[in-house]
């Protein structure tokens, strides 16, 4: 089973195969937890978010649609949605900076396998592309995607018109896309 492609594993998961689900978890838990932690900034909440996301996939047999992207992208979309829900429900925004110290050192993936090396290289590539954006575009994208803020909340925070926020989001994403297509494409 270990040699099966993600899409084939998903088929078995949707049939309720617990061993397939364990393999699915092993493949995607690291990126899922990393995203949850980046968004909520709190280890316990990040674990809760990850657990809710994986169990929702297992219990509801959410349908993965291959034509809408990779399994990894699909899983991270579910985690992202759960993390936004946690941010809006639990006011984690206030806690995140106070509790963030130390965890990255303790849980940062060590470069033991090719997969982990690839994850680290990929993160560096995308981060470099983000840092290549004008600051004002990078900021609105990060506040929206990682902070879970709506465009109107961002406009309030940054004291700028909503139209400006929307424009910067669009321009920033467009530039990020062009940069990533020039550089090695994310897996």
């Amino acid at each position: 089973m270990a040699n099966l492609a993600d899409e084939e594993i998903m088929h078995l998961v949707q049939e309720g195969d617990p061993r397939a689900f364990e393999l699915f978890y092993d493949r995607h838990a690291g990126p899922a937890f990393s995203l949850a932690y980046r968004m909520v900034g709190n280890r316990t909440v990040a674990e809760d978010v990850s657990q809710e996301a994986f169990l929702s996939i297992w219990r509801s047999k959410l349908r993965y649609q291959a034509d809408r992207g990779s399994v990894r992208t699909w899983v991270l979309g579910i985690v992202h949605h759960r993390a936004i829900d946690a941010l809006r429900r639990n006011t984690v925004h206030d806690k995140r900076r106070a509790s963030a110290e130390g965890i990255e050192e303790r849980f940062e993936a060590r470069e033991r396998t090719d997969v982990e090396v690839a994850r680290r290289d990929e993160a560096l590539t995308v981060r470099a592309a983000l840092e290549d954006l004008p600051d004002e575009q990078c900021r609105v994208i990060e506040l929206a995607y990682f902070g879970g803020f709506s465009h109107s909340q961002i406009a309030d925070q940054l004291d700028m018109p909503i139209g400006t926020v929307k424009g910067r989001m669009r321009l920033g994403l467009d530039k990020l896309r062009k940069t990533l297509l020039r550089d090695p494409e994310p897996v």
Binding site: L35, S50, F54, S56, R59, T73, V126, A144, F146, R170
Partner: protein, 237 residues
């Protein structure tokens, strides 16, 4: 396609792929996407960049106890599988959810009720059709401007009923509508359902015996253990 409408919506594409539109704006934009191939193409283009964002984070290793907790739940689910009657199997086809701790559910029920009443849910209407009873659903008009629907209950309440809704806002990709039963001060999670492009939805609601109210909330895909907000639909029994 209306050029004016396209002009209104084209600036929303970036906020849409980042999940930064309000629920109302999201619904309007999704409706616009159905008729505007220019915006659809633009969403596809920018989605590539949005999908790359989660890959920029520092790679961490998931804590070991997380896997133990998740696989413990999975194994427990597998153990619970057993031969059941046809009727039970039909009910089990509804998504399964963990039990809600009574304390949490009671508090949430109180909040839901207060919000529901303050929010101006009207009284439901009951039509007794002999074997069946039809109860008109009330909608939170701030969030469902043109909603309508009802709960048709069989002659025996324990047999459950069928909830039909119309005019519901469209869901985001990773969202679901979830049904809740309020009974004896507790709020019990029930089925999840989605709606068509026209906002029509249909779901079975089982175990209505003694229920005081049926409610619907908007939840993350996979459902929630307790409602994360006030109901958009409420049926007083």
């Amino acid at each position: 396609m209306s050029v004016e409408r396209h002009d209104i919506h084209e600036q929303d594409v970036g906020a849409y792929v980042l999940g930064a539109l309000s629920d109302e704006e999201h619904t309007r934009f999704v409706r616009h996407l159905r008729e505007c191939h220019v915006c659809r193409d633009e969403v596809d283009r920018l989605q590539f960049a949005a999908d790359a964002l989660p890959r920029s984070v520092t790679p961490l290793t998931a804590p070991r106890q997380l896997k133990a907790a998740i696989m413990g739940e999975v194994e427990a689910d597998v153990r619970e599988r057993e031969p059941v009657s046809l009727g039970r199997r039909l009910l089990d086809r509804l998504p399964r959810l963990p039990a809600v701790p009574a304390k949490v559910a009671s508090v949430t029920a109180a909040v839901l009720l207060v919000v529901g009443i303050v929010g101006g849910f009207g009284l439901s209407q009951v039509t007794d059709g002999g074997q069946e009873r039809t109860v008109t659903a009330s909608f939170d008009t701030d969030r469902v401007a043109n909603g309508s629907g009802n709960l048709v209950i069989g002659g025996d309440d324990t047999a459950g009923g069928t909830l039909r809704v119309h005019g519901m806002p469209s869901l985001r990709e990773n969202e679901t509508y979830q049904v809740w039963l309020q009974r004896d001060g507790e709020v019990i999670p029930k089925a999840m359902f989605s709606v068509t492009d026209n906002g029509d939805g249909l779901t079975a609601v089982d175990d209505l015996d003694g229920a005081e109210r049926v409610m619907v909330t908007r939840e993350p895909a996979g459902g929630a253990r307790s409602p994360s907000g006030p109901p958009v639909v409420s049926v007083k029994l």
